[in-house]
């Protein structure tokens, strides 16, 4: 009994003593200067990413730009090198420096030619700034390695439609509808293709489908109104413009719809 008590007390004491001391630092696995420098660089890259992504998520693009510029300067291996350039491009475009963003995304794609998010953002930036040849070239490259991507298909369709390449735009929006028949905007854009090609009947079918899927789609309702007006169906056109005016979130579209409605 006495022996058991002593053993139990010793166990408790040892346990208590073990809790009083932190675990010793692991011994270094190398003393090689090059390996230690690489470890230090990896930790810096890690820290830059942590801070940079946190800054991006709170919309502090200047801070994000500084962190990711430092990460890029550290030249991390793939996929971190291309990811750092992608994040830096995101900061640059939010700071209004689209030229720099485009260059960074091109560098990211040079490092990793199948970096889909970089390809997507490159097309988006070129579309947004109206550089249609560059948007089309970027979209072609994106679609070549991601042929099933609906984002790639949509982006190239838009670039082609805006540039007047109706055959490519038609093929892309049809493929997009084939992949996702419930996507109303693809039907609307296909209707625009057909309108520009002078195929009003086909355009009407696509507009009807878009509005069936999304009855509050003001842009599609407005387009239907113009089509009806051209057909001489003034009463139907008036109803369409009235509904477009009520559904439109864009004040300019609402003003146009009201103006046309009031003429009928």
């Amino acid at each position: 009994m006495a022996v058991a008590s002593v053993v139990a007390l010793a166990a408790v004491t040892c346990s208590a003593a073990a809790q009083n001391y932190s675990r010793p630092t692991a011994p270094p696995r190398t003393t090689d200067a090059g390996a230690l420098a690489a470890q230090a660089r990896d930790r810096l890259v890690h820290e830059r990413f942590l801070r940079g992504v946190a800054a991006e998520e709170r919309g502090d693009w200047s801070a994000a730009e500084s962190e990711f510029r430092s990460a890029v300067a550290l030249d991390p291996p793939e996929p971190k090198g291309s990811s750092a350039r992608y994040d830096l491009a995101l900061a640059e475009t939010h700071l209004g420096r689209d030229d720099a963003a485009v260059t960074l995304l091109q560098e990211a794609l040079h490092r990793d030619p199948r970096f889909a998010a970089a390809a997507a953002n490159l097309v988006v930036i070129e579309l947004r700034r109206g550089n249609l040849p560059a948007a089309r070239a970027a979209a072609d490259r994106y679609l070549a390695f991601a042929p099933d991507s609906v984002l790639a298909r949509y982006a190239r369709g838009l670039a082609a439609l805006k540039a007047g390449d109706l055959a490519t735009a038609r093929a892309d929006f049809r493929a997009l509808i084939g992949a996702d028949p419930s996507y109303a905007a693809a039907h609307y854009d296909l209707a625009l293709v057909e309108l520009r090609a002078g195929r009003d009947d086909t355009a009407r079918i696509e507009l009807d489908r878009a509005l069936e899927l999304f009855p509050a789609y003001a842009r599609a309702r407005f387009a239907l109104g113009t089509l009806l007006m051209r057909d001489g169906r003034r009463a139907d056109a008036r109803v369409a413009f009235d509904r477009a005016a009520r559904d439109a979130a864009d004040p300019a579209l609402r003003a146009l719809a009201i103006d046309l409605r009031d003429r009928l």
């Binding site: 995101l90 609906v150 905007a185 300019a252 146009l256």
Partner: protein
């Protein structure tokens, strides 16, 4: 002809940017003369940040969106 159509589209873009009532009337005339000048759906939104380890695993939201097979998964605009 193509140049003329481009000028019309630029004029409408200006009208839409201004959103003024007087401008709207001018834009309406242009739209009725040339329905092909109707604006397209919205461009896609920029994809978001990628973390240090994002692309080494499967759970990278921007990469998933960029290769998605449905409009909702890709985050395409509604209109």
């Amino acid at each position: 002809m193509a140049a003329m159509r481009e000028i019309l589209r630029m004029a409408i873009a200006g009208v839409l940017a201004l959103g003024a009532c007087a401008g709207a009337a001018v834009g309406a005339e242009l739209l009725l003369d040339d329905p092909a000048a109707l604006v397209t759906s919205a461009p896609p939104a920029l994809l978001g940040p990628i973390t240090e380890t994002g692309r080494t695993g499967w759970n990278c939201a921007p990469e998933r969106a960029a290769t998605a097979k449905t409009a909702a998964a890709a985050g395409l605009p509604h209109d």
